[in-house]
């Protein structure tokens, strides 16, 4: 031993400061192909001895004596061989391999321990990997466009919304007047009836301005993009199609260029194909692009109106978002001066494209990532406890090895390699679990996470998993390793070895308290989410979502612009649906669709002057409905009457307002019989009724929305010149006798029966619409719930283990107590008391931690305070109960201890 140490020092001394690379590589190689070299060295040693013997014989010794002397002189063949081997390979690697082999053997000898530890780690690391892959794909990876950091979404700030759609004329001015963008493009979501060659289908697409794809820096795989000339009224009707459609409908044939495609009844010529991998917001669904500038609807070209058009821009190189903001503010100020009626008080809001896509989900994901980190912490604490228990069992083994000369470093390394091996094993299994689990969870809640298509297990995720596995392995291996560091040889070698066992307590107790604390934090998180969702579910949406559904109808392309004809078509659709068995009531809906789309109009009271600017106007949500809307939606009529069949295009204009409208614009007055002016539509209807407010903007955010007042106008009374716009596409709300989802096929058929060119899309029961609006919260609640459950299970196992161990250790003491007359009750109290102390210290410290951490959840929760006493109290009671139940099992065992048997052990 001693000589080895000196030898090593000598090596490093003569090895010089500079690492000899050649030597190092040879040694690394030496680790592997050593058998042949071993034989050779054996031969060399033999020849050495032989030469030595020859010399002795020559000097007159007998051969036998010469051999003896030679061997003495050689000074231990084994030692020479060992020294040679050390130099030949790399001892560190070789002993690592040895450690690993030993670790595998030790693990196989104890399959129960190995399985539980691996399972725990698999869960912990798997959950972390899964969530990190989501965070990585959604938040960390750049968007899939060249220099995506230069892309920004430009919203129009208006009296209606902070981040609203943009009016086309404003967009054109932004394009002309800005100095910080290399290009700005507009896009407007649109669905198209694809007719002509092959089956008619419904495809979604975008109407875009000419430089839309250039702004994103996306090039067509075939053909060309739109030119500026094609992006104005009267331009040639050209279209771009997506790679998916190209494949399915045209067999990826290059001859698709120049072919015709009929979209919403208009014949377009295909001029290019966009890559199949092109992704815009969530989904590859977009398949068709047409030039936006060709749309000549006067409303579209009204500066005061935004027709659902959004704007994206690419900032010039080295331009920051702040710089661009200043620039656009300047542009907005100029426009406000030039067009005060439309743009006074309006502004431009810039949001980076990535932020716009994933900004809402980021706080949720970070909280979840922290939560899943806590789960891993508990998993590690549990495995550390198992390792501690095992290390105690192996104390004698280690003491023996130590007494035989194994260095402490060597033993610690042995323990660490076992735990790292476990960690890496758990990591590999966890990766497999994550790979399958991530997909299924995302599939369960498809709307919850944007960019979900881009989530994959890229190298960064793999590195993360590896790092987590190693850190976890070292983390939980450290505790038992540290105990080996200070072994008490004499105690450990003694039979019984109670001295060692006694020192195991504090670390283990600390781990269990830590687990309890962490479990409490997770329970609080899950509890707050559950409370939020329960509160949200109990919010009255203002309508009855049960047994109701909504959908949209694309009208036939050849509808034309004759208002009488369009009104007739709307009635026909209504009648076709209404007569379906199972349909209780139905209403066509133009304008806003609750929780799905919005349409706002300015209003002012009769006798008041018309507001000069959009900014000074009072805005209201506008619904163009039929008489049955009230019953189809299940809205409450509060005063007066609702629209009836008698209110038609031939009768005086009427309007029904909601109670918020009254509260806001007619406080303390009876509004019935009063008249209001409705801007844009230029109507002066009389208020005939008041209905309950509908939570149009969603259960959670309606109260903070800019425009909350609501008006209902008979859809037939919408002025003639707006009828073509209504004919562009309408919504429908239907109340059914039962199972609204089951009615969808029949309704689809009924409308197709009315006119084969009319297509139903986006059909969804209203309950699901509400659920969908809470998707991100439900996703978080579900995952937090799962994490909390795993945490509780793991920490329950943890406390059970500790208390069982305690009972096992003190069985003689308990036996003695019982023999001396202690009541069984006292014994149970003693054991449960220990468990309670552990639990309470965990719950106490966990509560403090949870108080600090739950503030990070402010954006996720609704209606409850982050320090909600009910949640805190509830989960504390829950955790304490579960922990005491876990302790009760070993406590019962203690109670049943037979004093005779226990005493006989002594």
């Amino acid at each position: 031993m001693e000589r080895d140490g000196c030898y090593r020092r000598a090596l490093s001394e003569s090895g010089g400061v500079v690492l000899n690379l050649r030597s190092f590589l040879l040694r690394v190689a030496g680790v592997f192909r050593s058998e042949r070299r071993d034989r050779e060295f054996q031969a060399e040693l033999e020849s050495h001895i032989q030469l030595h013997i020859d010399d002795f014989v020559r000097s007159g010794m007998s051969p036998a004596e010469a051999r003896r002397q030679a061997l003495i002189k050689l000074g231990g063949i084994e030692q020479a061989r060992e020294g040679w081997r050390r130099q030949h390979g790399l001892p560190a690697i070789e002993s690592l391999a040895q450690d690993l082999r030993y670790a595998i053997r030790a693990m196989r000898k104890n399959p129960g321990f190995t399985c539980i530890a691996l399972l725990t780690l698999t869960l912990g690391i798997g959950a972390n990997t899964a969530l990190f892959s989501v965070v990585n794909g959604v938040l960390l990876n750049p968007l899939p466009y060249p220099h995506s950091e230069q892309l920004a979404i430009l919203y129009q700030k208006s009296p209606i919304a902070d981040q609203g759609a943009v009016s086309y004329l404003n967009f054109l001015d932004w394009q002309r007047q800005n100095e910080t963008f290399s290009s700005i493009a507009a896009f407007r979501w649109q669905t198209f009836n694809l007719t002509g060659e092959g089956e008619p289908t419904r495809v979604s697409g975008h109407e875009v301005t000419a430089d839309f794809f250039a702004t994103l820096d996306v090039k067509p795989v075939l053909g060309r993009l739109f030119t500026a000339d094609e992006d104005r009224v009267g331009g040639a009707p050209v279209a771009l199609i997506g790679g998916g459609l190209w494949k399915t409908r045209y067999g990826s044939s290059p001859s698709v260029l120049g072919r015709g495609i009929t979209l919403n009844g208009v014949r377009y010529t295909i001029i290019g194909v966009i890559p199949e991998t092109f992704l815009f917001y969530n989904g590859y669904g977009t398949q068709v692009w047409t030039p936006l500038g060709q749309w000549n609807d006067p409303t579209f070209r009204d500066r005061r109106v935004s027709m659902g058009m959004n704007v994206i821009g690419r900032m010039r190189a080295a331009v920051t978002l702040d710089r661009a903001r200043q620039d656009m503010q300047r542009v907005a100020n100029t426009l406000a001066e030039a067009y005060p009626d439309a743009d006074k008080g309006a502004g431009v809001i810039l949001v980076s494209f990535k932020q716009d896509m994933v900004g809402d989900i980021a706080p949720f994901l970070f909280v979840l990532l922290a939560a899943v980190g806590f789960v891993l912490m508990i998993a590690c604490a549990n495995v550390a406890n198992l390792m501690l228990a095992r290390a105690t069992g192996r104390a004698r083994e280690f003491a023996l090895r130590s007494a035989l000369g194994a260095s402490r470093g060597r033993l610690v390394r042995q323990l660490l390699s076992e735990s790292v091996l476990l960690g890496v094993g758990g990591g590999v299994l966890g990766l497999a679990l994550a790979a399958s689990g991530t997909r299924s969870i995302l599939a369960l809640l498809p709307d919850a996470v944007p960019r979900s298509h881009e989530i994959s297990f890229d190298p960064r995720v793999l590195i993360f998993t590896l790092a987590v596995s190693l850190i976890a392995g070292i983390g939980f291996g450290l505790a038992p390793a540290l105990r080996v560091w200070r072994p008490n040889l004499t105690d450990a070698l003694k039979e019984g070895g109670r001295g060692v066992a006694g020192t195991r307590g504090p670390a283990q107790n600390a781990f269990v308290a830590l687990e309890m604390a962490t479990a409490l934090v997770l329970l609080v998180g899950a509890g707050l989410m559950i409370r939020s969702l329960a509160l949200l579910w109990s919010v009255d949406p203002g309508f009855d979502p049960r047994n109701a559904l909504s959908f949209e109808v694309a009208m036939q392309p050849d509808l034309g612009s004759d208002p009488t004809h369009i009104r007739g078509e709307l009635r026909k659709i209504h009648d076709a649906v209404r007569v379906q068995p199972g349909v209780v009531s139905a209403s066509v809906l133009a304008g806003s669709l609750p929780m799905q789309g919005d349409s706002e109009l300015p209003v002012w009271k009769e006798g008041e002057p018309k507001p000069a600017t959009a900014a000074e106007s009072k805005w209201t949500l506008f619904y163009g409905v039929e008489p049955d809307y009230l019953s189809a939606m299940g809205i409450h009529l509060l005063r007066g009457r609702f629209i009836t069949e008698a209110d038609s295009e031939h009768s005086p204009a009427v309007v029904v307002v909601d109670d918020y409208f009254v509260h806001r614009y007619f406080p303390g007055e009876n509004p019935i019989g009063k008249r209001i002016n409705v801007g844009m539509l230029d109507l002066q209807p009389e208020i005939i009724g008041v209905v309950g407010h509908v939570k149009h903007w969603g259960l959670d955010s309606d109260a903070t929305a800019r425009v909350q007042a609501q008006i209902y106008i008979p859809c037939t009374q919408i002025p003639d010149r707006f009828m073509p716009l209504v004919g562009n596409g309408i919504s429908m709300v239907v109340r059914t006798a039962n199972d609204p989802g089951g009615q969808i096929p029949a309704i689809r058929k009924a409308i197709a029966g009315n006119n084969t060119q009319q297509v139903v899309y986006g059909a969804e029961p209203l309950e699901e619409v509400i659920a969908g609006s809470l998707a991100a919260r439900r996703f978080s609640m579900m995952l937090l719930g799962i994490f909390a459950a795993v945490a509780v299970v793991l920490s329950t196992i943890g406390i059970y283990g500790v208390i069982s161990y305690l009972v096992g250790q003190r069985i003689q003491e308990i036996g003695t107590r019982i023999a001396l007359g202690a009541q069984r009750r006292d014994v149970v109290r003693l054991i449960l008391g220990r468990g309670l102390v552990l639990t309470l210290s965990g719950v106490g410290s966990g509560s403090v931690l949870a108080l600090i951490l739950s503030r990070q959840m402010k954006k996720m929760i609704y209606g409850v305070s982050p320090s909600d006493p009910l949640t805190f109290f509830g989960v504390a009671v829950l955790l304490i109960t579960i922990a005491l139940l876990a302790c009760y099992v070993p406590a019962r065992r203690a109670m049943r201890v037979d004093p005779m048997i226990a005493l006989r052990y002594e």
Binding site: L26, S47, G75, G76
Partner: protein, 113 residues
């Protein structure tokens, strides 16, 4: 173990190189004997350190080895200096002399003044 002193650590490599420089090609046993003889049998070469040292020098490329036949017809592994080995001998000799001179000044301070 032996009668003589063990070779001081770190000097063995230089002794091996120097021996090979003067003797040309030599086997392990011969190198050991030669070092012992040169030291006037004051040193005893521990073979447990000799062979690792030889291997290390070979790995570093200062010496090369091949099997050959000894003067009394035994198969033996012969070591010889390589070109870089020759340079290394010069360098190490120079360094050793410098070190020795410096140490000498400490041991006999009055002489150096």
């Amino acid at each position: 173990m032996g009668e003589g002193k063990d070779v001081r650590q770190g000097t063995l490599a230089l002794m091996i190189l120097k021996t090979l420089e003067s003797m040309g090609s030599l086997h392990g046993y011969g190198i050991a004997r030669r070092i012992e003889q040169t030291s006037g049998d004051l040193l005893s070469v521990n073979y447990g350190t000799l062979y690792p040292a030889l291997l290390k020098l070979e790995q570093e490329g200062y010496i090369a080895s091949e099997w050959g036949i000894s003067e009394n017809n035994r198969r033996a592994r012969y070591y010889r200096l390589t070109r870089t080995g020759k340079k290394q001998v010069e360098r190490e000799t120079r360094e050793w002399n410098e070190t020795a001179a410096i140490v000498a000044r400490f041991l006999n301070p009055e002489e150096s003044c």
